[in-house]
């Protein structure tokens, strides 16, 4: 809380410097956040308390919701987003790095708020790195215990110090990349403000832009290519980044997940390029540029757009829809099911056939030459099942509010995977403004569930959690 309060001060100052009228709103929100954080800290702080598993789940889930509330305050107080539901939607969409917006016209928004909006995503991204690299493997959510050994930092059994050290190490990498992409944007002709905003949302795989037409609004191949590359990097496991930055290329080369990530991306880019060349684009290079951009933007769950993919063939749109479920690598800022789970499922299905033929043989599943137990595989499959179930539930609710079939499907998939644009009436050229408030609330719940890898939320809902 204290942290968020201080962070809001940054856009406040900038807003003040730019002479905009929204700075009081930001200042007040910052004050509220600092005060609230200070009070809770003071009241509940007991230095020696040891965090237990359950508390971990609880803090993470609650933290995200609180952040969402605080993030919404500036939008609402400033009067730029008059309805609370909308402000909440925008804020949650930010903190979960989704990037869905209810703003019809982004360009008229005050700069202070736009910066805040981008910053929310960047902070969300920081949270996710801690969550996915430090917390989830320790808690063993959805098979993520596979990554337990990979987490850098000292291996202390207590959760708190370990998480802190890991987080700080990886945040350094995150900041480094953000600065790098910001500088590259600036060189490419964005002004400093837009460079900063886009740097924030690129590395967080968020997708908020300061332009109505998103990255497409810059009309610059350079910016498109830079964004594509950095989105791809943001979709990689940050532990891998940390390793190769320190000169250790081995994990990069042996990681099966990384090979699949590259393979899937390249295959999809080739397919989309071929299918859009001659139909939508005259030049193969333009086709390649937009294909690569869109594929990476969706696969890494960033959700920027350089071109309205609704104009492309159904098969291409479907591919992108499927990618919304895939997401980037585990341990990145991307959402979705994650490549590693997908690849283990594919492998397991293949082995299942062998197992039927040889009922008595033991055919173990391996990842990076490590055995994966049946228990872990079941956990991953349960994860996917719950993911799909929640997706279905969300779609039913959306359809019940009167939205058509494909739009409901697209909006929910997009929210679950933290992408941003969906299909139909919530496609990349549209916004979420016209949805029914119930639909908006449903989508924010989907975003949080998707972001926190489902289980965190589900646990709070399960009766067993409250029993001591």
């Amino acid at each position: 809380m204290l942290f968020v309060g201080c962070v809001i001060l940054i856009p406040t100052i900038i807003s003040y410097l730019l002479g905009e009228e929204v700075y009081p709103a930001l200042l007040v929100s910052s004050g509220i956040a600092i005060l609230a954080g200070f009070l809770t800290g003071k009241l509940l702080y007991e230095p020696d308390i040891e965090l237990r598993l359950r508390d971990g789940f609880f803090i993470v889930s609650l933290g995200w919701i609180m952040m969402g509330v605080i993030g919404a305050i500036p939008f609402w107080l400033s009067g730029e987003i008059p309805r609370l539901v909308d402000a909440w939607f925008e804020s949650i969409s930010g903190f979960t790095t989704t990037g869905s917006t209810i703003l019809e016209d982004i360009e008229v928004m005050p700069k202070g708020l736009l910066l805040w909006r981008s910053m929310i995503q960047w902070i969300g991204g920081m949270g996710i790195i801690v969550l996915s690299i430090a917390l989830l493997p320790l808690l063993g959510v959805g098979g993520m215990q596979l990554f337990k050994a990979e987490v850098p930092g000292p291996t202390i059994d207590k959760v708190k110090p370990r998480v802190r050290d890991t987080a700080i190490t990886l945040w350094k990498v995150y900041v480094l990349f953000t600065v790098a992409v910001g500088v590259l944007y600036f060189i490419g002709g964005m002004n400093w403000f837009e460079s900063v905003c886009h740097a924030f949302t690129t590395m967080a795989t968020g997708g908020f832009s300061t332009r109505n037409a998103s990255i497409g609004g810059f009309n610059s191949s350079y910016i498109t290519v830079v964004t594509t590359i950095f989105m791809f990097l943001a979709g990689m496991n940050f532990v891998l980044h940390y390793r190769w930055l320190r000169g250790d290329y081995r994990p990069l080369l042996v990681s099966t997940e990384f090979r699949w990530y590259i393979g899937i991306t390249v295959a999809a880019i080739i397919f989309v390029t071929i299918s859009t060349f001659n139909t939508t684009f005259d030049s193969i290079w333009t086709a390649l540029e937009h294909a690569a951009f869109q594929v990476v933007a969706i696969l890494t769950t960033t959700g920027y757009s350089s071109f309205d993919y609704q104009l492309w063939a159904p098969a291409v749109q479907f591919l992108l829809l499927v990618f919304m479920f895939f997401g980037g690598m585990a341990g990145s800022t991307a959402g979705g099911i994650k490549i590693v789970r997908v690849l283990l499922l594919v492998k397991n299905t293949y082995y299942e056939i062998k197992r039927i033929l040889h009922p008595k043989a033991v055919i173990p599943l391996t990842l990076n030459k490590q055995n994966v137990t049946q228990g872990v595989v079941n956990e991953i499959m349960a994860f996917v099942f719950i993911f799909v179930t929640i997706f279905i539930g969300g779609t039913v609710i959306l359809a019940a509010t009167g939205i058509d079939f494909m739009s409901s499907l697209g909006a929910t998939a997009s929210a679950m995977g933290n992408i941003g644009p969906g299909l139909g009436s919530v496609g990349p050229a549209e916004t979420y403004a016209h949805l029914h408030p119930v639909a908006k609330m449903t989508l924010t719940i989907c975003m949080i569930m998707g972001r926190l890898e489902l289980f965190t939320i589900m646990i709070i809902l399960s009766r067993g959690f409250w029993r001591v």
Partner: protein, 481 residues
């Protein structure tokens, strides 16, 4: 692989196909529909080929093992459909093999998708053959799901291994033969009852038999383009609804209920889930329709229940068009296409038991996360399931989803819209037949390009054989000794 044993069984299949086809001859002659010659020749030919093969390999017929069984199951569907396609071509109502094959494979897999604009235009003999093919497909499914799949352990079906009535021999064929004979008797008896009841409702023998076949095979074929709506009879609609529910029950359970174990109706985990699902979804549909403006009366209620049961048991009679009920209803019915009725019934799709286990296992996973050291069993019928079985069921779910995604993708490459492709592929994989086509819901697929029809035919068999059986045959490991 013992091809001689396979030859014997395939010979038997040919003979069987010939006999089945000849049952439509009386109707052809009675209605003077002019297709008697074609049907007769094909039936005779098929019977003779079968007899020849059977005589040749007769002494090997007991050497069947699991591998041979799987192969026969896969190839059997193709053989029956290919032979069945011949009379359609001979009579000339369908002018190419693809369409005729599609027609028959959809019948034998109890899907009842068609390429014809109007089935009423078919001569009576062929129409009857098309209907009885659904019923025979249902018989095949009973053997498959109660004798072969539990043995293979496809998608967790080994949990039914013990439940199947009949003697437990180690060899495949005697066991299958006796189990099948027992359960086919039940199947035939229930079908007989339905036929008589339908005739009370004013149908003639021909229509009553055809609709019985469509109902009991959970195929949904009709002799009318308008489906059951043609008869405009509340009695028939309710009667068919009830029998669809029965057809969706595990036939082994039907057998035990008939023998007096009525309490199974409310004690079995799967049945409870199955009934619960039908009731819940029906209530949702009725509720949603009454909120959105439909008048709440008896017709509306029975109509809603009819549709829920019809799609939920993967029967799908073409009656009224549920696409007019709003996008939420379309989505609900779309989901129903994936659930299916009970395992061991003639219905297709995922089956209630699997969905039940999926939910229970997912919930257990969540509990396990909070209490990492706790042992959380997943129970079905008061027995805890082993981890491997749960793994198999999850794997089944994943492969269902994957097949759906891949097939939809191919259909979109062939030019279908995303919505149509979703609806069509879901209808084929679940052996429903009734799919989305633009603004309407229809089981007529004449407009699909030729390659697309083969893809859909593949989907029907894939879904019918519970995915792994067909994938098994297609995998290189299967052919290695």
């Amino acid at each position: 692989m013992n091809f001689r044993a396979i030859g014997a069984v395939i010979g038997f299949l040919f003979m069987f196909c010939g006999i089945a086809m000849s049952t439509s001859l009386p109707f052809s002659l009675y209605y003077r529909s002019g297709d008697g010659g074609a049907l007769g020749i094909t039936a005779l030919g098929s019977f003779l080929v079968g007899l020849f093969l059977y005589r040749l390999f007769r002494e090997h017929r007991h050497n069947m093992k699991i591998r041979e069984g799987v192969f026969v199951v896969g190839v059997g569907w193709l053989i029956l459909s290919s032979v069945g396609a011949i009379p359609f071509l001979l009579v000339g109502v369908i002018d190419n093999f693809t369409d005729a094959f599609f027609e028959m494979i959809s019948a034998f897999t109890t899907t009842s998708a068609t390429t014809l604009d109007s089935i009423e235009a078919l001569p009576h003999g062929l129409l009857f053959f098309r209907s009885i093919a659904h019923w025979i497909g249902g018989m095949g499914m009973i053997v498959l799901s109660l004798a072969i799949l539990p043995m293979l352990g496809v998608g967790g079906m080994q949990m039914f291994h013990a439940e199947v009535p009949g003697p437990t021999h180690d060899k495949l064929s005697p066991r299958i033969k006796q189990t099948a004979a027992l359960l086919w008797t039940v199947y035939a008896a229930v079908s007989g009852v339905l036929t008589v009841l339908l005739m009370f409702g004013g149908m003639n023998l021909f229509d009553a038999l055809s609709h019985t076949f469509g109902t009991m095979g959970t195929g949904g074929c009709s002799t009318r383009d308008a489906g059951l709506a043609y008869y405009d009879s509340e009695y028939i609609n309710i009667l068919v609804t009830v029998f669809m529910i029965i057809a969706g029950m595990n036939i082994a359970v039907q057998y035990r209920i008939l023998r007096g174990e009525v309490s199974l109706l409310w004690t079995g985990s799967e049945l409870r889930f199955y009934f619960g699902l039908i009731i819940t979804v029906s209530l949702v549909v009725i509720g949603y329709r009454s909120i959105t403006g439909a008048v709440l009366n008896g017709t509306m209620i029975s109509d809603s229940v009819f549709h829920v049961v019809s799609v939920g048991t993967t029967t799908a009679f073409a009656n009224s068009d549920f696409s007019a009920w709003g996008s939420m209803m379309v989505f609900v019915f779309f989901l129903l296409m994936f659930t299916g009725a009970c395992a061991g019934s003639t219905s297709g799709a995922m089956k209630s038991i699997r969905i039940l286990v999926l939910f229970k296992a997912a919930f257990a996973e969540i509990i396990r996360l909070v209490h990492p050291r706790a042992i959380v069993p997943v129970r079905v019928n008061k027995r805890a399931l082993p981890t491997e079985v749960i793994g198999r069921i999850f794997a089944f779910f994943i492969i269902y989803l994957t097949s759906f995604v891949l097939a939809s993708f191919v259909m979109m490459l062939l030019g279908l819209s995303m919505y149509d492709a979703f609806g069509t592929v879901a209808a084929m994989l679940g052996n429903i037949g009734l799919g989305f086509q633009g603004d309407t819901i229809s089981s007529e697929y004449g407009h699909i390009p030729m390659f697309g029809k083969w893809v859909l035919a593949f989907c029907m068999v894939l879904g019918r054989l519970e995915f792994f059986t067909l994938l098994l045959i297609l995998s290189p490991t299967f052919w290695k000794n």
